[in-house]
């Protein structure tokens, strides 16, 4: 991608990155981080709640990474939410007590996201033999959990446990996508987004243009580096770029400097 966004991940360990989108679709950031971490040789646990595996796989191929191959060599653990939800509701075989469905909470037997967290923990727990360069948890997208009936507190608990396990214990990274809209009335979602914003080390905030749709500029991205979290007396560093999504790439440019204008 661009040096602006691409440079953000360099030399980070134990960081929490929030991807936030407003009036636009920020999924291009998820695809970027997925292919970035796979290429960097990290072990990735991808909780994909919104789309099917084939969708992510085809897009990743366009970005030069094969998810199927990564899955086979054990680098990628892929939770396909749509499929496991069907297994949960229509599956014939009774669950073994040792391996509950990660999305157990949908059926209403429990209200917490413990099964989902257990799935993340077991899939990222390092064994003696593997030699991955890092551990990454990727979630697309957290807002879906609220729609499926999880309470905001349960979602925040889940993220908190993941941070303890992935960021602190394993020194890995977490990347999470949420939708948000300032004038939205979805209070539960806003609660989750605000809470996550306060804790994130890096926020990538994709916004649709306030003036509406434009063919050559798909939106602007605000990169907020939370230097204030490090307690060194510095302020948060904010950079703003505009971007255009192309078939296999995203180009970033300074505001008002789109190729269509110049």
């Amino acid at each position: 991608m661009s040096p602006g966004v691409g440079g953000c991940e360099g030399g980070m360990a134990g960081k929490f990155t929030l991807l936030r989108d407003t009036r636009t679709d920020g999924s291009f950031l998820v695809h970027h981080f997925l292919s970035f971490y796979l290429r960097a040789g990290c072990k990735v646990c991808f909780v994909a709640l919104l789309q099917s595996f084939s969708h992510y796989n085809i897009v990743a191929q366009k970005l030069g990474v094969s998810l199927a191959a990564a899955k086979e060599r054990g680098q990628l653990v892929f939770l396909e939410g749509l499929r496991s939800c069907l297994d949960l509701l229509f599956g014939e075989e009774e669950e073994q007590p040792g391996q509950p469905n990660p999305l157990q909470f949908i059926s209403g037997s429990t209200s917490d996201l413990r099964a989902l967290f257990d799935f993340v923990r077991t899939s990222l727990t390092p064994s003696d033999s593997d030699s991955w360069k890092g551990h990454v948890l990727l979630v697309d997208d957290l807002s879906v959990l609220l729609g499926l009936g999880a309470t905001p507190v349960a979602v925040l608990d889940f993220i908190h446990y993941c941070r303890v396990t992935v960021c602190s214990k394993l020194q890995g990274n977490i990347v999470v996508l949420v939708h948000s809209n300032e004038d939205s009335e979805d209070e539960e979602n806003e609660l989750v987004v605000n809470a996550l914003c306060h804790h994130s080390d890096l926020i990538l905030w994709a916004e649709g243009l306030a003036t509406g749709f434009c063919k050559d500029i798909h939106g602007q991205i605000k990169i907020i580096k939370r230097l204030s979290l490090e307690l060194m007396g510095e302020q948060d560093q904010v950079q703003i770029y505009q971007y255009k999504i192309q078939d296999k790439n995203v180009t970033f440019f300074a505001r008002g400097l789109s190729a269509a204008v110049l």
Partner: protein
């Protein structure tokens, strides 16, 4: 069909171009592969809508229609979607809580078929007749595959047809079509108890019914023996309304706020792994809690809102005199790709002519008269401003600027 009939008709000439050479991909009738993402596309039954949605509705996705205030035009789109399924030979699944699915199916609009399709029908019915027909065409063999008249609405291809809303579809067309019905009052009486997964029981029943059909008829592709050459079109009417036992329309803080989104999520899962496409109409104007509508939008693929002028002041506005309402394309899915097919214009309107329903680009009516009175001109200018900016604050005191 052109390729099939041509060699029989005049095999003497070796000069004919092989039509439909690229039909390997579009093996299922009424579909075509998308140029951008390779997914099979279906027509929504309204070619002008297909055009706005980037070519059609992808197989395995969900089209959500936000109903207009009286549900008139959204119902029409709903029927178009099903009628297109009948013409293409797709299986239908119709679910409703209010109107009986049988009466919905009875009232589908009649297709305005082109000559090519009529030829095919004629060949199937009487071989003798078809021979006569081809004898007659020998002089001008070059033109026999062309449609006789190029009248605008009847350029019938295999993908996307036009329908006459003033006529009903003839029952013969239905004969070969498998129809599945889900009428909530009947379903509630037939099966007393079932798992509901902490969900509204009507939705749970509907999901189980859809899952059963997808599984039994082999649309999920799990059983290679039952390889399907057709597609299941699912239509669900007025989802989320009171009739489905949902309270999202009646209260601001519904007790059961998650049933609808849960239902959509499971349905999305079912659609994604099967050869099917779904249309759902939702009375969005009745849903008090905007948060639910946001979540519903996020869980659907394509979202189109209809806003009719009936009962609003726009009905008499000279600016909109050619149209019956506005179309808002809220969301277009990104499938297998980073980008989506967004059409260039966002200002779309629909109109219902005597026979046809069309969606077109909104444009201002031409100012034809020489002596337009100043007042009406100003009205137009002001309403144009309203249209573009969407805020009416600046319209105050404009009538004094008369120079």
């Amino acid at each position: 069909m052109a390729a099939a009939s041509a060699p029989r008709g005049c095999g003497a000439t070796s000069f004919q171009r092989k039509a439909a050479a690229g039909s390997r991909l579009a093996a299922v009738a009424g579909t075509r592969p998308s140029v951008r993402h390779g997914q099979l596309l279906l027509s929504s039954g309204l070619p002008s809508l297909d055009c706005v949605l980037g070519g059609g509705i992808a197989v395995g996705t969900l089209l959500l229609i936000e109903e207009d205030t009286y549900g008139l035009y959204s119902n029409l789109l709903f029927k178009y979607f099903l009628a297109e399924g009948v013409v293409c030979g797709h299986d239908l699944f119709v679910a409703s809580a209010k109107e009986h699915p049988d009466s919905i199916l009875k009232e589908l609009p009649a297709p305005l078929l082109g000559d090519t399709y009529r030829n095919e029908l004629r060949e199937e019915t009487t071989a003798v007749k078809s021979e006569e027909f081809q004898d007659a065409m020998k002089i001008a063999w070059r033109y026999q595959n062309l449609p006789k008249v190029e009248a605008s609405p009847t350029t019938s291809t295999k993908f996307g047809h036009y329908y006459d809303v003033s006529k009903r579809m003839s029952p013969e067309l239905f004969q070969s079509i498998k129809q599945h019905r889900f009428y909530l009052p009947e379903e509630l009486s037939s099966q007393p108890e079932m798992k509901t997964w902490n969900m509204n029981s009507a939705y749970a029943r509907l999901l189980q019914s859809i899952q059963r059909i997808i599984y039994q008829e082999g649309f999920d592709g799990s059983d290679p023996q039952k390889k399907q050459k057709t597609i299941l079109r699912i239509g669900i009417q007025s989802l989320g309304s009171m009739m489905w036992g949902d309270d999202v329309c009646s209260s601001d803080t519904p007790e059961d706020a998650h049933s609808l989104t849960k239902f959509l999520y499971v349905l999305r899962g079912l659609l994604r792994k099967s050869l099917s496409a779904c249309i759902i109409t939702v009375p969005a104007h009745l849903i008090q809690n905007k948060a639910i509508m946001e979540r519903v939008t996020n869980l659907s693929d394509t979202v189109v809102g209809l806003e009719s002028f009936i009962g609003s002041e726009r009905e008499t506005n000279p600016l909109y005199k050619d149209y019956h309402g506005l179309v808002h394309v809220h969301q277009i899915p990104r499938l297998n790709s980073l980008i989506c097919d967004v059409s260039d214009t966002k200002d779309l309107a629909f109109r219902l002519k005597r026979k046809l329903f069309t969606i077109e680009r909104l444009h201002l009516p031409p100012d034809l008269s020489d002596t337009v009175s100043r007042a009406s001109k100003q009205d137009l200018a002001e309403s144009a401003k309203l249209l573009s900016s969407g805020c009416g604050a600046m319209a105050i005191g404009k009538k004094h600027l008369d120079f």
